[in-house]
Amino acid sequence: MDFLNALVVFLNFVFIPAAAYGAQLALGALGVTLIYGILRFSNFAHGDTMAFGTATVILLTWGLQAIGITAGPLPTALIALPFGIALTALLVLGTDRAVYKFYRRQKAAPIILVMASVGVMFVMNGLTRLLIGVDEYRFDDGARFIMDVRTFREMTGLPEGLALRSTQALTLVVAVIVVVVLFWFLNRTKSGKAMRAYSDNEDLALLSGIDPERVVRLTWIIAAGLATIAGTLYGLDKSFKAFNYFQILLPIFAAAIVGGLGNPVGAIAGGFLVAFSEVAVTYPWVKVVGYLAPWYEPGGLMQLLGTEYKFAVSFVILIVVLLFRPTGLFRGKSV
């Protein structure tokens, strides 16, 4: 019984939140890693691409709700999502035309492209705020819970409760689907193979007749899709505020680098690693330990770091990996 209580507390406060957060980070990190692998620069504008994508999805959701279309128990945002992706793809393709194409033709050093992406980041920052404003928005509708605390307590008779929000479950399901489709695309289709060839060796790819501009366009469209999906899931699960998408850039980069930049499997592993570390390091374990080892009285909260230091965890992981294994856990390209 005590073991079950400990398990429920662990699931409720550590596992479920960290898994959902990890899936959101993983999707964001996939976009970053894809651009790094194929276009060969770290795209600092990725967080704000997520914000822009989410903002368009929110506006479309409001539109759909106004004309009476909803998705029943699921959030209406899911219907708006494909249109949001299309709009965001148009924006990033336009940005590529206007900014990055010039530097690519110049064969500019990656650091110049990185700096250009910082500029793009600020412009998108402003664009998102013009579009939707700086306030906090909640846009989840439909059923809020798959399992809420009260029902769980009544069902099991345990004193501890377990909640599973529908947005958390949705995040995990959508993330799995997206990852499966992405890997199928990269490994099985001709365009995917062309992208990987271009990533491995640009000159050889050119010689075998691969159209580089087409690969670049495809990469941006996929990155826009990943960014919009990750941003929308994050916003559904928590809430949308433009500034938070700027802050989430750090854990996303930590995830991509930990996994190995340019390596999609690494991005996913990195996302979950960063999320679980953040939650586990700032979680006070006193309650779990209290159930498992009732004879042991720790006298404190058994919390390694205050919750204020959550972001510091990503920094530490980032520094440790860069010092000891610069290519990341899954052997990406070195930074």
Binding site: N12, F13, V14, P17, Y21, D148, V149, R150, R153, G161, A163, R165, Y234, K238, S239, K241, F243, N244, I248, E278, V279, T282, Y283, P284, W285, V286, K287, L301, Q303, G306, T307, E308, K310
Partner: protein, 394 residues
């Protein structure tokens, strides 16, 4: 330098002489910053009192009062200091209604007002630190100290039989001051605070903060935050994970936004916010409506009272010199004397000019205690069927 000092002293003496003149009063409030939405109604409250006095023509043989506003920004102490410096040095104000937030008020009081000997009455700075500050008798406030709110909140909890609570506060002077004064008062009365931890405003997700609070446990969660900010986020995360289902809300959290955000989910939760009941408040609200603004805005009535107190004290002392009228503020605010409600400032001036005593009650039932701050009355509220219900005043 000596010449300048002499000139200033001479100027002050001349200004202190009675006789019809036109004086200026400064209004230093956070017209930009995190409380910018409250500032306009406060300014209008203070200006309404000045207009009332000027039109009566009874202050010191027909002295008229003109407001001069300045932006204190609420969070930038340097900007607030510069604003108050400007009001005193280049506008020559005889007293200041302000500042708005505690940190900024402390800075401008210590750096400028004290050095120049100018009276400041703040309508809204509630930090306990201002009760004990060295102010040369120049600082007053028409709002109560948060130390008092901590006491009131502890009383309410003990009366309801809640003896262990977790506390989370917004990470600034207001949140920390309130949480600490509450913890001290509550533990003195025999309650236990399991954890007293900060949360930062403006984050997307408070599940980690709530996990820590839940691990510490408690019968209720005290949320000393802002309803439009992290406070609501904490409550949302606590409800979702089933960590707490009873909440205690101090003044920053009590607002209609709670009803729209949570509805019946927080039934049984309770709290308090400063609000006087009675005739004075009703009268102020209708006066404000006539003047075309919303008098029920937080601290608007307090601003009216702050301005009124300065002018009545001037009349009482027979001088517009802060050095002489600063001693009269407590006299006009407290008993004995005729009770004065808002809108009766001309009556008060008549009594004072005739040599009588007044006890200014005003819009917020002003009663000055200690070093010149409002004793403060609070409204106890409770959630029933998703609505805020007033259950009493204390």
């Amino acid at each position: 330098m000596r010449k300048l000092l002499l000139a200033t002293a001479a100027g002050a003496l001349m200004a202190g002489a009675a006789g019809a003149e036109d004086i200026k009063l400064g209004i230093s409030l956070g017209f930009t910053g995190p409380l910018e939405s409250l500032a306009p109604a406060m300014q209008q409250g203070a200006e309404m009192a000045m207009k009332e006095v000027s039109e009566s023509g009874l202050l010191l043989d027909g002295t008229t009062v003109t407001p001069v506003t300045g932006d204190s920004t609420c969070i930038d102490a340097a900007a607030a200091t510069a604003t108050v410096e400007r009001l005193i040095a280049s506008e020559g104000v005889k007293g200041i209604i302000g500042g708005m937030c505690s940190g900024e008020t402390i800075a401008s009081l210590e750096n400028v007002a004290k050095a120049n000997g100018i009276v400041m009455i703040s309508p809204s700075a509630t930090s306990p630190a201002l009760s004990t500050i060295e102010d040369d008798g120049l600082f007053f406030r028409t709002s109560p100290s948060d130390a008092r709110q901590g006491e009131v909140m502890a009383d309410i909890l003990m009366e309801r039989g809640v003896e262990t609570v977790a506390v989370t506060y917004t990470n600034n002077d207001y949140g920390k001051g309130l949480a600490d004064s509450f913890e001290a008062a509550y533990e003195e009365k025999g309650g236990t605070v399991t954890v007293n931890s900060a949360h930062d405003d403006g984050k997307a997700d408070y599940s980690a903060e709530v996990a820590a609070l839940a691990a510490a446990g408690g019968d209720a969660l005290v949320v000393a935050g802002y309803v439009d900010q992290g406070g609501s986020g904490v409550v949302r995360a606590a409800l979702d994970t089933g960590a707490f289902d009873t909440f205690v809300f101090p003044d920053g959290m009590v607002g209609t936004a709670l009803e729209t955000n949570f509805g019946t989910e927080i039934d049984g939760s309770f709290g308090q916010n400063p609000a006087a009941e009675g005739e004075g408040r009703d009268k102020y609200l209708s006066m404000a409506e006539e003047a075309g603004f919303d008098g029920s805005g937080a601290f608007s009535a307090e601003a009216y009272d702050a301005a009124a107190l300065i002018m009545l004290a001037m009349a009482k002392a027979g001088s517009t010199d802060p050095a002489s009228y600063k001693g009269s503020i407590m006299d006009v605010a407290n008993e004995p004397g005729e009770k004065i409600l808002p809108g009766e400032l001309s009556k008060a001036l008549e009594i004072i000019n005739g040599g009588g005593d007044v006890d200014y009650v005003g819009a917020t039932a002003v009663e000055m205690v200690g070093a010149g701050e409002s004793a403060g009355s609070y409204r106890e509220i409770q959630f029933t069927d998703g609505k805020i219900e007033v259950v009493g005043y204390r």
